[in-house]
């Protein structure tokens, strides 16, 4: 059998293969109806040691420059809030921590509740399962279907997401249920060897996104995309804070506000472009939540809803589209659950929300210290009388 891998210098024809323009290596398509021989592969006659060394140096220079750029921009190390990271926390419930206190909700629950402060206040560090840009209803339903979850549940309500059912990260639940062993290994490797050392490892800094958000000419009839930029920084157990740059960099903060304004003032998506459609979806989401809460309650799980603060145009929009009486109050009523609304508690008011939706890190610490005892009290009272007001 001929050698299957040979340099062009040492081929039987003395390397003519590379000298002859138009040379085509034969493939199975050239040999019908016969046994296919061992494939031939050639290595171009080049000094591959030098090529590789130079390529490595250039690669290191490019990557180093990229890393320095993002560190200067304010990038932080550890951790990426990936599907793998969420799945690792979700798995804790099935791996012996089914009786734990679990937080679900959207980015306000994720950014505004600080796990170390909660632990200090109550002695228990909750499992953080809230997800940015995502309604907690599918996660609530998933937990309701999991008999291993027997603990207590705080459900954050960001009206825009909860009552619309919008889920930017809807793939996280199927990911958790179908997570491959190789994906778990990949997450572990990333969390130990990549995320703690590289600031560029953040979705907002991905090369494709950076290119996409440059000031390209606008095609007539299209709108300039204005996707939500980075807002958070996370720890390994998904304890998450508002990214310091939003707090300290006025230009970045203005941009974040501009994105919210674009988003709030834009036309509603077709499934929600009439009040009737909005109302139908709201009813459906409350119905799903009520069913799931009833299921949880059957096995002794206690539930508290939590509405964290918003401000400025964001709060105005929420109050207009999802008035409290038609959304929040109805939710508590139909789920027969206790709830804590920031408007009802003086200790939950007067906080700084740089981009109208999330608290700064320091304010999140203060809010957590204030809200943890309220929630513990609500849990203590739940099962007796549903409460929506203090």
């Amino acid at each position: 059998m001929p050698s299957s891998t040979s340099s062009s210098k040492t081929t039987a024809d003395g390397g003519l293969a590379f000298e002859r323009p138009g040379f085509v290596r034969l493939t199975a398509s050239d040999r019908p109806g016969v046994a296919q021989p061992v494939p031939e592969r050639h290595i171009p006659d080049r000094r591959w040691g030098r090529i590789q060394l130079l390529a490595l140096l250039l690669f290191a220079a490019l990557l180093g420059g990229w890393e320095i750029h993002w560190r200067n921009y304010g990038g932080t190390f550890c951790c990426r809030d990936s599907n793998g990271s969420w799945a690792a926390q979700r798995r804790r419930i099935d791996d012996g921590e089914g009786g734990a206190l679990v937080l679900i909700g959207s980015s306000r629950t994720l950014f505004d509740i600080q796990l170390p402060v909660w632990q200090e206040a109550t002695g228990e560090r909750p499992i953080q399962l809230a997800l940015e840009g995502t309604s907690p209803v599918p996660i609530l339903e998933d937990l309701a279907d999991d008999p291993k979850f027997t603990g207590r549940l705080v459900i954050g309500v960001a009206p825009e997401l909860f009552f619309s059912g919008f889920a930017a990260r809807a793939d996280v639940i199927p990911y958790f249920h179908k997570e491959r062993p190789s994906q778990r290994v990949g997450h572990w490797l990333s969390q130990h060897f990549i995320e703690p050392f590289f600031a560029f490892d953040n979705g907002d800094f991905a090369l494709g996104k950076v290119i996409e958000r440059q000031d390209w000419p606008l095609r007539p009839g299209t709108k300039r995309p204005n996707p939500i930029r980075r807002l958070a920084q996370s720890d390994a157990d998904r304890n998450t804070q508002l990214w310091r740059k939003v707090e300290t960099d006025a230009a970045y903060r203005e941009m974040a506000r501009g994105i919210w304004l674009d988003h709030l003032n834009g036309p509603p998506p077709p499934p929600m472009n009439t009040p009737e459609k909005v109302g139908a979806i709201l009813s459906s989401e409350i119905g799903k939540a009520a069913t799931a809460v009833a299921k949880l309650r059957q096995r002794g799980v206690k539930v508290v809803f939590l509405r964290l603060p918003s401000a400025g145009p964001y709060r105005e929009w929420e109050n207009r589209v999802y008035p409290r009486s038609q959304a929040w109050d109805r939710l508590l009523n139909e789920t027969a659950s206790p709830g804590i609304h920031f408007e009802d508690y003086p200790q939950m008011q007067g906080y700084i929300l740089p981009e109208w939706s999330h608290l700064t890190h320091a304010e999140a610490d203060r809010m957590t210290a204030a809200v943890a005892p309220l929630i513990e009290a609500a849990f203590a009272e739940s099962g007796t009388t549903p409460r929506g007001t203090p």
Binding site: P21, V24, R47, W48, A55, R180, Q183, F200
Partner: protein, 471 residues
């Protein structure tokens, strides 16, 4: 495990180290076999049982077949192999599809029958490894190959991780002989293998996933009517995406095998420079098209029994080739359209015998071929016929009032990338990648490799599965 993942980088580094240890050749092969099972199990552990069933049945059938004295007995053992492999493939890949279509068929006769829907998960790579193991039995049946000398070489041929889940579909005569004698990559092979892996991952992670997939999804997966520009751009983007995704996988697989000292065949030969469809199918997914030719088209009679029979064999082969890609009539339509193209081309060739086109005519025919291939991609990509018709009608100007969908940047990136792919394919259409690299300045090769590796890291791919994993 997918090549574009951290888990694979760690896995491959460990395999390379173990393979370079001073161990006996048999031990090295055992290590490779165990590593290959680990590679497969890391995706979905229970399905490794199916891989073992396919491996053992074909080993046993081939042994019996090789030693059988009577033709009927040889025939029976061959059939056993084909039935077990196609049976597994049929159940896992086409079970629900057959039931649903049976339900629709009986409903058309007025019989109310709702078939049960089974929650069947498709084992990754089953279409590839069943074809590889079948080629082992069939080559022995057709007396083209002798059985492997030992089970280890045979099992490694089936399971060797670079080709296991998405090809290239290897034949036993291509790989088994490579396991018979000790092999170790030279430093040059290792370096060039790593360069090929970089190129393959760049095609997949950067071009296919980052720049082309979002364009395709914006038009094919949203409930919006596309005008001519958007429909064409999305379809061109898909032609680039499917090539970069699959050719990227094949190039990475060839590089991985080379780093271990093994040779794998080309699976693509600059297909978008094809002039005509006969030429296209000698350049696109070569290991599948040649498999279908050798084990389906030729046994069906090939071109040996007159024109009508040739066309029939061609159509059956292409329709089944389409169905191989997935349990959906849109894939059958894709295969059928290619069958029609091939039949038409054969007819045209027989009418225009003796015609020698000049360079301009060649280029024009190449462009027509590429445009018609894009029409077939619409059926391949669209999940339903309704979407396919909508896109196709958009491509031919039926929706002049449609609102624009794609941004300037998206259109520019498709033009640049697909234009670049077309130029590259035409520049290299009669050559090989190695031929081109052999004539490129070393400093430029280093710069390109560094840039591609940087882009692979900087785009922060999500480890998306390769498109062909679903087939």
């Amino acid at each position: 495990m997918v090549f574009n993942s951290l888990a694979f980088i760690a896995f491959f580094a460990i395999v390379l180290v173990i393979h370079s240890l001073p161990l006996g050749w048999t031990n090295k092969k055992i290590n490779l076999l165990l590593a290959s099972y680990l590679f497969y199990a890391a995706w979905n552990p229970p399905f490794i049982l199916l891989l073992w069933i396919s491996t053992i049945v074909d080993w046993y059938a081939a042994q019996k077949l090789a030693h059988a004295r009577r033709n009927a007995s040889r025939h029976a053992w061959m059939l056993l192999s084909v039935i077990v492999n196609l049976g597994m493939l049929g159940y896992f890949k086409y079970g629900n599809f057959v039931l649903e279509n049976f339900g629709m068929l009986v409903a058309s006769f007025g019989i109310a029958y709702r078939p049960p829907h089974f929650d069947i998960v498709l084992p990754v790579g089953i279409s590839f490894y069943t074809f590889a193991t079948m080629s082992y039995t069939l080559d022995i049946y057709l007396r083209r190959a002798a059985p492997a000398r030992n089970f280890l070489d045979y099992a490694l041929f089936v399971t060797f991780f670079p080709h296991l889940v998405a090809g290239p579909i290897m034949r036993p005569t291509e790989l088994v002989p490579q396991f018979e004698t000790p092999r170790k990559a030279t430093p040059e092979m290792l370096r060039f293998g790593l360069a090929l892996m970089t190129l393959g991952l760049f095609q997949k992670v950067v071009l296919a996933d980052t720049f082309l997939a979002p364009v395709v999804e914006a038009v094919y997966d949203r409930d919006r009517i596309a005008g001519a520009l958007d429909a064409w751009m999305a379809t061109l983007a898909f032609s680039g995406q499917i090539f970069c995704d699959f050719a990227g996988y094949s190039t990475t697989a060839i590089g991985v095998a080379m780093c271990l000292g093994f040779a794998m065949p080309d699976n693509f030969r600059f297909p978008y420079a094809a002039i005509g469809f006969i030429d296209f199918w000698r350049r696109w997914h070569i290991t599948l098209s040649s498999w279908l030719r050798d084990y389906l088209y030729i046994p069906l009679g090939g071109n040996r029994h007159g024109e009508a029979r040739t066309y029939l064999a061609l159509m059956v082969t292409m329709l089944l080739g389409g169905l191989w890609h997935g349990a959906n009539w849109t894939f059958v339509a894709w295969g059928g359209l290619h069958g029609v193209y091939l039949v038409t081309e054969r007819k045209l060739r027989s009418w225009a015998r003796g015609y020698r086109p000049g360079p301009a005519a060649m280029a024009s025919m190449g462009l027509v071929t590429f445009a018609l291939i894009n029409v077939t991609w619409v059926f391949f990509r669209a999940k339903k016929f309704a979407i396919a018709w909508q896109i196709l009608s958009g491509m031919f100007g039926a929706h002049p009032e449609a609102a624009p969908i794609l941004s300037f940047m998206r259109i520019a990136s498709v033009t640049l990338i697909v234009g670049g792919i077309l130029c590259t394919h035409w520049a290299l259409r009669n050559g090989t990648l190695e031929f081109a690299v052999g004539r490129t300045r070393e400093i430029l090769i280093s710069g390109l490799l560094a840039s591609m590796a940087f882009a692979v890291v900087a785009v922060q791919g999500e480890g998306n599965a390769f498109i062909y994993f679903q087939f």
